[in-house]
Each structure stands twice: as C-alpha cells, then as structure tokens.
Symmetry: C2
Subunit: 213 residues, 2 copies
C-alpha cells in the first residue's frame, strides 16, 4: 500500500502473462472453460464440439484448454465431473490377463458410475429425456469404449460385443441407481462385479451365438 502515493486508482501489476490470454486466476479460467465445454457438448454433441470452438466460446487460447485438460475427451470428463477418463484406464488393458478383463472392465465402469456418484448417473438421466444429451452420451461411449473393439474384442463382431457388454453394465447402473431395484440397490460393488464379470468376459471372448463356436 505504501507505493500508492499519487492518488491514482490502483492498477494491477504488469505480469509476464502472454498477450491475448484472458487475465484472471487459473481456477476462474478453468471454470469458464468447463462451463463453455458443457454448453458446447450439449449443443452439438461430443464429436462435433472442438477444442477450438470451446476455447473461442470461453474467450481463451486453445492452447490453454489443452494445457489445463489435455484433450477433448479429458475435457468432457472434467466438465461432467466423471471421476476419471475410462479410455485412459482402458489404454493399459494389455497388462491385464485376458481371462480377467471382464472383471477389470466391470469394476472400472461400476467405479465410474456408482462410486463416482450422481454426476455420472445424471448423464444417463438427462439422456433419457433429451435427444441432444442422448446423442452426446452415445458419441462419448463410442469414443471412450466401443472404439476399443480392435483391442478388447478383436474380430468382425467386436463392436457388437462391446455394445452388449456396455448394455449389461449400463442396465445394472440404471436398475441400481435410478430404479433402486432390489436386490441390486443394496448389493456392494464387489458383489455386482462378481456376478456380472463372467457375462462381460463372455461378450469379450466367448462364442456370441448360442451353439456356434
């Protein structure tokens, strides 16, 4: 305060912030970006929303968005308060023995939806009654899960296998968290993983059609 001796209004000190970048503390900037991302994703879906358009709408440089969040999928994850990026955790699936991948994926998904709590489930809820939200969630699931078919379930029906696995997990979360259907609602995550993992494993690598190998 001792420096302000000439009666002029207080000014901010010059900083080494690059020209063109929005001033303000990082927390505010991140919140602005997240708000812009939520709006943009819900308006045009996951696929068509670009980092550039979100940056423009938040009035920041695209490089700042990448600096804070990484890529578009991570930005989606942060904007919707998911506890982690499922695709990131699937990236090291080849370190998991193939006969344990059903349980691994199952635990990953239930952790995201149930332990993560209502933000993840609210994506399901909103998608149920809003076509834009449904499109956005469909595109995110496709990007973060179904697109991993070549690794997780190689073969001509890989995408169908993952979609069926996803449907089983999503149905359990819908029954447990939305409908509160017993005995799913009071089952522990471990109990659910235990019961569902063999189903997911079957979709990954067992014959998909009744009798045919």
């Amino acid at each position: 305060m001792g420096d302000m001796t000439n009666g002029s209004p207080p000014t901010t000190r010059p900083t080494d912030r690059p020209v063109g970048r929005r001033p303000g503390d990082p927390a505010t900037t991140k919140a602005t970006i997240l708000e812009a991302a939520r709006t943009r994703f819900s308006e045009v879906g996951f696929d068509r929303a670009t980092i550039r358009s979100i940056a423009t709408s938040a009035d920041v440089d695209p490089a700042l968005v990448i600096h804070h969040f990484g890529g578009k999928r991570q930005l989606f994850v942060a904007a919707h308060e998911l506890p982690f990026d499922p695709a990131e955790l699937l990236a090291d699936i080849d370190t998991v023995p193939s006969n344990q991948r059903g349980a691994h994926i199952c635990r990953l998904y239930l952790s995201m939806m149930v332990i993560g709590g209502s933000p993840a489930v609210s994506l399901l809820r909103t998608a149920a009654t809003n076509d834009n939200a449904a499109e956005m969630l469909r595109q995110f699931i496709t990007s973060a899960f179904i697109s991993h078919a070549p690794t997780l379930a190689p073969g001509p029906e890989g995408e169908r296998r993952l979609a069926l696995a996803g449907a089983q997990m999503m149905g359990v979360v819908f029954g447990r968290e939305v409908l509160k259907l017993e005995p799913l609602a009071t089952a522990t995550i471990n109990e659910l993983v235990d019961a569902i993992a063999p189903t997911i494993q079957r979709y990954l690598d067992e014959p998909l059609h009744g009798d045919a190998p």
Copy 2:
C-alpha cells in the same frame, strides 16, 4: 326431432343400466378409468394404488374396473399401453424346456419394449428423471418379473438372478431405443435375442459366482 314438441330440453331415454353405475358408452368409461389409473399409479406407485381408489377417482363401481380390465396389473398394462402383460406370459413358463427359458424371456421382454414401441420405452424415460415414476416402475417390475424368482430361478439368490437378467435386457433397450447406440440400434430383435439369450440363461440356472459351482 319430431318428438320434441313441447319446448322442454331433450332428455336421455331411460336405460336398463344398473343404478349407481356411471352412464355413458363403454369406450368413454374405459378411457375415464385408464386416465384415473395413470394418475393414481403415478401418484402413489403400483403397490399402493388400489382398484377401489382408482374406481372412486373414475366415479365407477370397482366391479366395473375388474369387468373391463381383470386385475390391477392388467389395468397398469392397459393404462401404459404395454402390448401385453408380461406376468401373464410368464405364467406358462413351465411348458418351455428349461434350457430355452433364457431365449423365451428375452424375446418376451424385447417384444414388449421394442415391438411395442415408445409407450413401454417412455416408462423408462420418465423413470429416469422422476422419482415417483421410478418407484412405480420398480414396483411393477418387481410384481411382474422379480416376484417370479421361485419359479424361474429357484434358490436363495433367485431374486438377484432375475434382477441381473432384467438389467441386461433393460440396458439393451436403453442403449438401442434411447441412446441409439450402434450396433444395437440397427440390430434385429432376432439378432439381439440370439446374442443375449445365453446371458439370461446363465443368470437363470448357471453358477452366479465366477468359479464356485
């Protein structure tokens, strides 16, 4: 018109309708009952709604409700435009060989939800964002499906088995009809039954826990 000679307002002809029953044609009466049923079910849920309270609200005799619809579950089915009563079709499950019951149940459910079209799916949509609707649907699923555990999946974990089977089928319908997730969205009912039936069969009569018999 030739009878109306004295200037008094036209009157309805006396009928042989029993005293106390609401006059009007049966179609109007049924529509009134269905509207009262929808309101009552959504207000107090499936379990607490009674034929008597619905009849009172429709201003008809309870016997007339039973005459037109049978029982409460059938009234729920009619009020929500489901194509059939799932519990009624499950009643003759013992005529289906036990190793084909997974496929049978699967086809039954997908027919109700997908061929039946949007009325059945709209029960899922509404439940996703409205707690009363979720409670109503939970109670109906429990009454029409989970309560059949002693017949369909005898044993101490019968209800869990049916809830897991229900979650698989519900998840497929949610993914297909709500999210339009590919390749579920363009799969035929036969393809879906083919892929899901072994899962449902497993929940009915195979070991539920990974390794233990």
